[in-house]
C-alpha cells in the first residue's frame, strides 16, 4: 500500500502560504495548524493595506468577476472539504459567493442617492469602502466563514480574517481556493490560531479601519473599548443569525457626499 504524502496547512498572508513567524503550531483533529502570533497579525494588516488601493480601484464589475471565480473554484474544489464539512455546507457557500458576486456592481445602485438640496447644487451621496477590515470568524460552517468575508470583499475592502478556533483546517483549504481565484495578493489574508490571542491585537491595530466579530458572546469581551483608539467601526454578528446581504455590505461602507454647483 502506498504511503500518502500529507499536506502542510499554512496561513495565507499577502498571497503567500506561510507558517507562523513564531514557528508555533496547534494540533487540531490530528493535524498541525499554524498558531498565529501578534507579528503575523501585523504582517497580515500590512499586506491588506498594501492591497487596498488596487482592490478598491478595480471596477465593480471586475470585483464581481473575481468573486464569481471564487465560486467557480469552490465548486471545482468542493471535494477538498469532504473531511471538514458536509457537501451541503460547501454548496451553500458556493451559492452565497455567487449571490455576493452579483452584488459587486449593484449595491451602489441601492445605496447611493441624489439629494434634492434647496440650492443650485448637484448633490449626491455614494458608498466607499472603509479600507482594511478585520474579521473574526465564528461558528463551524464554511457558509458562516464565507458569509463573514464576502460582504467585506464585495464592497472593495481588504480583509484580515481570523479563522474560527474550531475550524482552522477548513480555513486553510479555503485559502487554497482563494489563492487560485484571481483574488489579488493581500486582499484576503487568512490566519489560524487562537482568537483569544490574536483578536485583541487586531482590535488595537491603528491601520485597521473596521472589525467584524462573529461569535456567540462577542459584545461582552471588551473589544469595543480596545478598538476605540482609532475609532474602528466594530460590528458584532451573532453566529447562526440570518442576515441581509445588502445590509452586510453597507456595514463596511462609508458614505461620501458631494456638492457641485450648477450654473453658467
Amino acid at each position: 500500500m502506498r504511503t500518502v504524502v500529507r499536506k502542510t496547512y499554512k496561513m495565507l498572508i499577502g498571497g503567500q502560504f506561510v507558517r507562523s513567524e513564531s514557528g508555533r503550531s496547534l494540533e487540531v483533529g490530528g493535524v498541525n495548524v499554524c498558531h498565529a502570533s501578534r507579528k503575523d497579525v501585523r504582517d497580515a494588516v500590512k499586506a491588506a493595506r498594501a492591497a487596498c488601493s488596487g482592490w478598491s480601484a478595480k471596477t465593480a464589475m471586475n470585483r464581481g468577476q473575481i468573486l464569481y471565480r471564487m465560486a467557480e473554484m469552490l465548486e471545482a474544489r468542493s471535494q477538498d472539504f469532504s473531511d471538514v464539512t458536509a457537501l451541503q455546507d460547501v454548496e451553500n457557500s458556493i451559492d452565497l459567493l455567487v449571490h455576493y458576486a452579483g452584488w459587486a456592481d449593484k449595491y451602489q445602485q441601492c445605496l447611493a442617492t441624489v439629494n434634492p438640496v434647496a440650492a443650485p447644487y448637484f448633490n449626491f451621496s455614494f458608498a466607499e469602502p472603509m479600507g482594511v477590515v478585520g474579521v473574526a470568524c465564528g461558528g463551524t460552517t464554511l457558509t458562516s466563514m464565507v458569509g463573514a468575508v464576502a460582504p467585506v470583499l464585495t464592497g472593495g475592502n481588504t480583509c484580515v480574517m481570523l479563522a474560527s478556533d474550531q475550524t482552522p483546517v477548513m480555513a486553510c483549504v479555503f485559502a487554497e481556493v482563494v489563492s487560485t481565484s484571481d483574488v489579488p495578493a493581500g486582499v484576503l489574508n487568512i490566519l489560524t490560531g487562537i482568537q483569544g490571542e490574536t483578536l485583541p491585537h487586531l482590535a488595537q491595530h491603528m491601520d485597521v479601519n473596521a472589525l467584524a466579530v462573529h461569535s456567540e458572546d462577542a459584545r461582552s469581551n471588551g473589544l469595543l473599548a480596545e478598538a476605540a483608539e482609532n475609532l474602528k467601526r466594530v460590528s458584532f454578528w451573532p453566529v447562526g443569525e440570518a442576515r441581509d446581504s445588502l445590509a452586510a455590505i453597507s456595514t463596511f461602507q462609508e458614505t461620501k457626499t458631494v456638492w457641485h454647483p450648477i450654473g453658467l
Binding site: 464581481g64 468577476q65 449571490h99 452579483g102 456592481d105 449593484k106 457641485h260 450648477i262 453658467l264
Partner: protein, 514 residues
C-alpha cells in the same frame, strides 16, 4: 457661407474632382496655412484577423424550443458580407407560422423558467456570460463579417459588453426585492424582442439579459442583414443548457417582426430601431407592455472653455464610431463661435487619419456600411445637404472596390432646418453648426423631435450641470461620448422612444411592479 450655389454640386463630382483619393501630399500655397500631410505618408501594413475561427453553416433554420428547426415555408434568404458582397450563408424566412411556433414554445417554457428559484435562473445567465467570454474571438470575427464593423470594435466593444450585460443582469435575478423595495414584482411573460443591425449581438444581450433575469421567456427577431451572431448565440444557449423554449430566435425581415408585434400571445414588445417603425409598432402592437429605443440626432456641444483636442477626439468617436450606425451618435456638432474655426480645422486634420477599409483589419477605424440600402439612404441625405448649399468636407482616403463604403464626412454651413440637421442619417456624416451663448446651444440642441443623447464639452463643471439639466435627452455625456455600461440606463426622451435598458431601471422594463 463660402459655398456657391451657382453650379449644383453632386457627391460624385466632389469625390472625383475636388479631392485627391490617393491621399497624396497637398502642397501649401503662399498665404495659406500649411496643410498637414496625413493618410498618404504612412501606410499601415495590413493586419487582418483570420476568418478561420468562424464556420457559417450554409443554411440555418430558426431556433425554437431549444433546437434549430426548418421554416414552415421552406424559404431562406442570403446574408452577405457588406465589405465584399459575398454570401456568408442562408437563414430562414420567418413566417406567421414560425412566429406562432416560437411564441408557443416561449409560453410553454414560461412556468418552469419564472417559477425556478431566482438564484438558479441567475446561474444560467452567468453561464451565458462566461461562454460568451470564452468564445469571444469567434463572435467578434463573425460580427465583423456579417455587419461590416471594424474588428477592433467588435472585439473590444460589442462582444465584451454583451458578456458584461449577461453578467450584470444575472446578478439581479435573486435581488429583485432590493431593486423595488416594499413592492412585489412579477415577470411580464413572453417578450417579443426585435433588434437592429448596428450592434447585433450587443442588442440581443441588451434585450435577453434583463428579460431572462426577471423570469420572462423570449422570442428574439434579429435584423435581416445581421442574423448570424444571434444564431451563434443560440449555440451558446445550448451549451449553457438553458431550458428549451426560454429563448427562441426567429430570423426574417420586416414581415417577421410585424407578425411578432401583432401576435396575441406576446405580453411585451421590446424594439430597437428607427422612429418610423417604432411608431408603427405602437400603432399595431397587441402586447400590453412596450419599450422602444428609437432614433436620435444627438447634439455634441463644444464650449469655448473645453479642452479642444479632447473634444475633437470625442467628436470623431461620437460620429464615426461604428460607421455612424449608432442611434445615439453625436451627429450634430454645435461649437461655440469663438472656437469654431479651430475645432473644425483640427477635426478635418484628424479625420484625414481615419483608416477606412477591411473590417477584419485591425488598423481599420471605419468599416463597411451595413447594407446597400443604408448606403443609398446616406447618399440621398448627403445629396440633400449639398442641395441645401452646405459645404461638404470628406476625407481623401481610398475605398475598396467591392462592398458598401462611405467616406467620413462633415457638413459646414448647416442651417437648423436642413434635412441633414433634422433627420437621422445613420452614417458617418456630421452636421456642424455654431452658437454664441449657452442658451442658444441648448435651444438648438433640443430643436429636433429626438431626445436620445447629447454631449457637453467644457472644463467648467457647473456649466455642464446647468446645460445638462436643460437638455431633453435620456443620456448626456460630459467630456466624453458613446460610453456604454450594463449598469448605466440607456433610452430616450420624445420621439427617441421610451423605457430604459441597462441598470436597475432596465429591470422595470420586464417586470410588473405592484
Amino acid at each position: 457661407m463660402s459655398s456657391t450655389k451657382a453650379s449644383r454640386k453632386t457627391l460624385t463630382a466632389l469625390v472625383e474632382n475636388g479631392l485627391d483619393p490617393s491621399g497624396a501630399e497637398v502642397v501649401p500655397t503662399a498665404g495659406q496655412r500649411p496643410t498637414l500631410k496625413f493618410g498618404g505618408k504612412w501606410p499601415y501594413s495590413p493586419a487582418p484577423e483570420s476568418k478561420e475561427i468562424v464556420s457559417v453553416p450554409s443554411r440555418q433554420g430558426h431556433f425554437i424550443g431549444g433546437r434549430f428547426v426548418e421554416p414552415r415555408s421552406g424559404q431562406y434568404f442570403a446574408t452577405i458580407n457588406p465589405a465584399t458582397e459575398e454570401v456568408l450563408g442562408e437563414v430562414a424566412v420567418g413566417s406567421q407560422e414560425d412566429v406562432d411556433q416560437a411564441v408557443r414554445a416561449a409560453r410553454s417554457a414560461l412556468p418552469g423558467w419564472s417559477g425556478m428559484p431566482a438564484s438558479d435562473r441567475a446561474k444560467y445567465v452567468f453561464r451565458i456570460a462566461r461562454i460568451l467570454q470564452e468564445r469571444a474571438r469567434e463572435f467578434a470575427v463573425l460580427e465583423s463579417l456579417d455587419g461590416g464593423k471594424p474588428i477592433r470594435e467588435s472585439r473590444d466593444v460589442d462582444v465584451p459588453l454583451a458578456a458584461a450585460h449577461f453578467f450584470y443582469y444575472a446578478g439581479w435575478a435573486d435581488k429583485l426585492p432590493y431593486a423595488f423595495p416594499g413592492r412585489s414584482v412579477r415577470p411580464l411573460g413572453v417578450a417579443g424582442q426585435i433588434i437592429p443591425w448596428n450592434f447585433p449581438l450587443l442588442m440581443a444581450a441588451w434585450k435577453l439579459a434583463p428579460a431572462l433575469a426577471t423570469g420572462n421567456t423570449c422570442v428574439l427577431k434579429p435584423a435581416e442583414t445581421t442574423p448570424l451572431t444571434a444564431l451563434l448565440l443560440a449555440d451558446v444557449l445550448v451549451q449553457a443548457e438553458l431550458p428549451p423554449g426560454v429563448v427562441n430566435i426567429v430570423t426574417g425581415a420586416g414581415e417577421t417582426g410585424a407578425a411578432l408585434v401583432a401576435h396575441e400571445g406576446v405580453d411585451k414588445i421590446a424594439f430597437t430601431g428607427s422612429t418610423e417603425v417604432g411608431k408603427l409598432i405602437q400603432r399595431t402592437a397587441r402586447a400590453k407592455h412596450l419599450t422602444l429605443e428609437l432614433g436620435g440626432k444627438a447634439a455634441n456641444i463644444v464650449f469655448e472653455d473645453a479642452s479642444i483636442d479632447q473634444a475633437v477626439e470625442g467628436i470623431v468617436n461620437g460620429i464615426f464610431f461604428n460607421q455612424g450606425h449608432v442611434c445615439c451618435a453625436g451627429s450634430r456638432l454645435l461649437v461655440q463661435e469663438s472656437v469654431f474655426g479651430t475645432v473644425m480645422q483640427k477635426l478635418e486634420d484628424r479625420m484625414q487619419t481615419l483608416v477606412v477599409g477591411d473590417p477584419l483589419d485591425k488598423n481599420t477605424d471605419i468599416g463597411a456600411i451595413n447594407s446597400a440600402a443604408q448606403l443609398r439612404k446616406i447618399e440621398e441625405l448627403v445629396q440633400s445637404g449639398l442641395d441645401d448649399g452646405c459645404d461638404l468636407i470628406q476625407t481623401r482616403c481610398g475605398l475598396p472596390e467591392r462592398g458598401f463604403w462611405f467616406r467620413p464626412s462633415v457638413f459646414k454651413g448647416v442651417a437648423q432646418t436642413n434635412r441633414i440637421a433634422q433627420e437621422e442619417i445613420f452614417g458617418p456624416v456630421l452636421a456642424a453648426m455654431s452658437f454664441r451663448t449657452p442658451e442658444e446651444a441648448i435651444e438648438k440642441a433640443n430643436n429636433t423631435p429626438y431626445g436620445l443623447s447629447a454631449g457637453v464639452w467644457t472644463d467648467k463643471g457647473s456649466k455642464t450641470y446647468k446645460v445638462l439639466s436643460k437638455l431633453k435627452s435620456g443620456v448626456v455625456w460630459a467630456n466624453t461620448f458613446n460610453k456604454f455600461d450594463p449598469s448605466s440606463p440607456f433610452g430616450g426622451y420624445k420621439e427617441s422612444g421610451y423605457g430604459r435598458e441597462g441598470g436597475l431601471q432596465g429591470l422595470a422594463s420586464y417586470l410588473e411592479v405592484s
